[in-house]
């Protein structure tokens, strides 16, 4: 079961590297977050820790619904060119993604989880998600995709937090959710401004500040 969920998360992350249209990414992201919420829910079911339920619901609401909605709204509003632009080709990006996954699995392979009963398979996946999220940000040229990469990273974090340590303390978790929401909103706002200023969301245009 856990292996399957982990696989799903990984595939969704790699899928984000392969999309053609930006709008596709939003749904993949929503799916990823949904799976995450599912994981939290499953953990709650196994451990009966109440805050995991809260986390699951929050994930579902914030990550699988609100954030995709905000992103979708932004995309519609800006009306970005449909095509994504990437630095690497489709295949090389796949190759790098695989290398990163291997690296993720490799670095975590010797870590022994303390007193965890259920979440062990999630650890390498979460680290890999973090890596892949960063790689999405590196690979894609559209500003918005970087927000999406960031959310992927955060999903990876969440996976660790939920699955392995059974969630952070409640208050902290709330704070983190709030933060993330604000981040996405601000990314949205900035995207608007960037689009209106540069008339493009291609971040390669934003390289006036160097040296």
């Amino acid at each position: 079961m856990e292996q399957w969920i982990a696989m799903l998360l990984l595939i969704s992350a790699i899928r984000l590297l392969q999309i053609r249209k930006i709008s596709d990414s939003v749904s993949i992201l929503a799916f990823q977050s949904f799976v995450l919420a599912l994981t939290a829910g499953a953990l709650w079911y196994q451990t009966k820790l109440p805050h995991l339920l809260v986390a699951a619901v929050l994930t579902l609401v914030v990550k699988a619904m609100i954030i995709p909605a905000v992103l979708h709204y932004t995309i519609k509003k800006i009306d970005v060119h449909r095509q994504v632009e990437r630095v690497t080709s489709k295949y090389s990006s796949l190759l790098i993604a695989i290398i990163l996954s291997v690296a993720g699995f490799y670095v975590t392979s010797r870590l022994h989880l303390p007193s965890t009963k259920f979440g062990a398979p999630y650890l390498p996946v979460s680290i890999t998600l973090v890596f892949l999220g960063t790689f999405i940000m590196v690979d894609h040229k559209k500003a918005l995709m970087q927000g999406i990469g960031l959310i992927t990273i955060e999903n990876g974090l969440f996976l660790v937090a939920q699955a392995i340590s059974y969630g952070m303390p409640m208050m902290v978790e709330l704070g983190i959710f709030f933060d993330m929401l604000v981040t996405v909103v601000i990314i949205g706002i900035l995207s608007f401004r960037i689009h209106s200023t540069f008339e493009s969301l291609n971040i390669e245009k934003m390289s006036n500040l160097k040296g």
Binding site: L49, R110, L111, H112, L113, P114, S115, I127, V130, G133, T134, M137, A143, Q146, L150, I153, E154, G156, L157, V160, A161, I164, S165, Y166, G167, M168, P169, M170, M171, V172, G175, I176, F178, D179, V182, T183, I186, I187, L190, R193, I194, T197, F198, I203, M206, S207, N208, L209, G211
Partner: protein, 492 residues
């Protein structure tokens, strides 16, 4: 003893000021925010004094914990915050007068500016590493808006880079904090306390070393991004150069310290757990940060970028000092934090005056500052000498203390490299400073100081820069000593 009233006051004042300034007339807002910042200085120093000379403060179900390190950071934030808000008045007035921004935008500026101060204060006083993280992320968000304040292409670009890199970094840091939490889970079970710094610190010896190390790596890269350690510093020159000058001063002077504060809190735990094996990472990143600024200092075109790179360098120095460790190294590092904040904010204020006077940040368009603005020019020169570690100014004292610590603890190669980089940076920076400060001012530049507000604000940090270079008062040494003890994990 002190109750939570003062602490809540410390946090509420900036928040209230921010909201008030947002709503009310700019003219009143100007004075109000200065008064509020001044009041906050009083509160902050009062708290700090209590912490330094009595005992650490704990409260709100151990959510708030102010020990010497926090109090030190609070002290820096309120001081620099006050001077920056004082400086902002003249700065913003000029920007409005020059029609660079609309008058109503000043209210937004104050809103974000004081919120920014508030978030940094919050970071400094919380005990819980999770909240520490939340606070640092909030500082990023708020300050990103300040960076984007001018809404020009470049400032948007800078803000975007800052935001993205900051967020990615901070995400890494969160992962680190989670790992740290994990390392203690066996010990404490799953309770909110196990993210509390005090708890972790006390139990540092029993934590799982494997997890703490990996946690430390993530935190180092994560908060390191925020603190501008190389090679994660790339956002920093952009953001610091594009922000309004008072904001740059706060960014360089305190925000970076606050991020370092995050690293050091965790480092203190981890280093105890790992029995000193975390120190080489700090030394490495410290040296790399110093080294990486060298080429950018030797060849540079933009005044504020140069200052921003200098901040990278100094963050490297502080990190190096902490990495070298020992009573002396930590002492030097803490002292350096203070000295750098003073000198760098001074430099940014002076640079702000220069930019406004010359309408450019390009250094080849700036010349004869001492002729155009004798006071600002002289102070700029002094600050530039100070920041490059020239005696008799304050930075030298702390840099030398770090070098001395390096030699004492046998980090000879690191210290010698440090010295080499510092002198290269000096030669790069002086090249431009001499060209800017001296010579004839362009004909179109009016030979007059900027507004009184902008000039007066220079004097507070100036006093610190000059006096602390020749005489560090005993009470202040005591303070630094206490902070160093905290950084050592509470053992003196």
């Amino acid at each position: 003893m002190i109750d939570m009233g003062e602490v809540s006051l410390l946090l509420i004042i900036p928040l209230m000021t921010a909201l008030l300034c947002w709503k009310i007339n700019v003219r009143i807002g100007n004075k109000l925010q200065v008064a509020a910042a001044l009041f906050n200085v009083v509160v902050g120093l009062f708290i700090a004094k209590n912490v330094f000379f009595h005992a650490p403060i704990t409260g709100w179900h151990r959510l708030i914990y102010i020990d010497a390190l926090s109090a030190f950071n609070v002290m820096l934030i309120v001081l620099i915050g006050f001077v920056a808000s004082l400086y902002s008045v003249g700065y913003m007035h000029h920007e409005v007068a020059e029609k660079i921004i609309d008058a109503y935008k000043v209210r937004h500026y104050y809103l974000w500016f004081h919120l920014f101060l508030g978030t940094m204060l919050a970071v400094s006083v919380v005990n819980n590493l999770g909240f520490l993280w939340v606070g640092i992320e909030l500082t990023t968000l708020v300050s990103a808006l300040l960076v984007a304040f001018y809404r020009k292409g470049t400032s948007l670009e800078a803000a975007w880079k800052y935001l993205i890199m900051g967020s990615v970094g901070i995400a890494f840091a969160l992962l680190g904090i989670i790992f740290l939490y994990l390392s203690g889970v066996d010990l404490f079970g799953e309770s909110a306390d196990s993210l509390n710094w005090t708890v972790l610190n006390q139990a540092a010896k029993q934590l799982n070393p494997q997890w703490t190390l990996i946690a430390f790596i993530f935190v180092l890269v994560g908060f390191g991004t925020k603190a501008g350690l190389a090679p994660m510093h790339f956002w920093l020159p952009d953001a610091h150069s594009q922000a309004p000058s008072p904001v740059s001063a706060v960014l360089s002077g305190v925000l970076l310290n606050t991020a370092l504060y995050g690293i050091f809190r965790i480092y203190t735990i981890v280093n105890t757990t790992l029995d000193g094996k975390a120190a080489p990472y700090l030394i490495f990143f410290g040296l790399l940060s110093i080294a990486i600024t060298v080429p950018f200092m030797l060849v540079q075109h933009d005044l504020k970028r140069m200052l921003a790179y200098s901040s990278v360098e100094h963050m490297g120095i502080i990190t190096l000092g902490v990495g070298i460790g020992g009573a002396l190294g930590l002492y030097g590092a803490v002292l350096h934090m203070f000295h750098h904040s003073m000198a760098k904010s001074l430099l940014f204020f002076a640079a702000g005056n220069i930019n406004q006077k010359y309408h450019s940040k390009r250094m080849d368009r700036i010349s004869g500052v001492v002729k155009a603005m004798p006071i600002t020019g002289s102070i700029f020169l002094i600050a530039a000498f100070a920041i490059t570690g020239t005696p008799p100014f304050n930075i030298f004292i702390s840099e030398f203390t770090i070098m001395r610590a390096g030699f004492q603890s046998g980090h000879l190669a690191a210290t010698v490299l440090f010295l080499l980089f510092v002198v290269l940076i000096f030669s790069g920076m002086m090249y431009y400073v001499v060209r800017m400060a001296f010579g004839e001012a362009p004909a179109k530049v009016e030979k007059k100081e900027m507004s009184r507000w902008s000039t007066v604000a220079l004097f507070l940090p100036l006093i610190a820069v000059i006096v602390f270079g020749l005489y560090v008062p005993p009470f202040f040494q005591e303070i630094i000593q206490q902070v160093a003890v905290v950084l050592q994990g509470g053992k003196s």
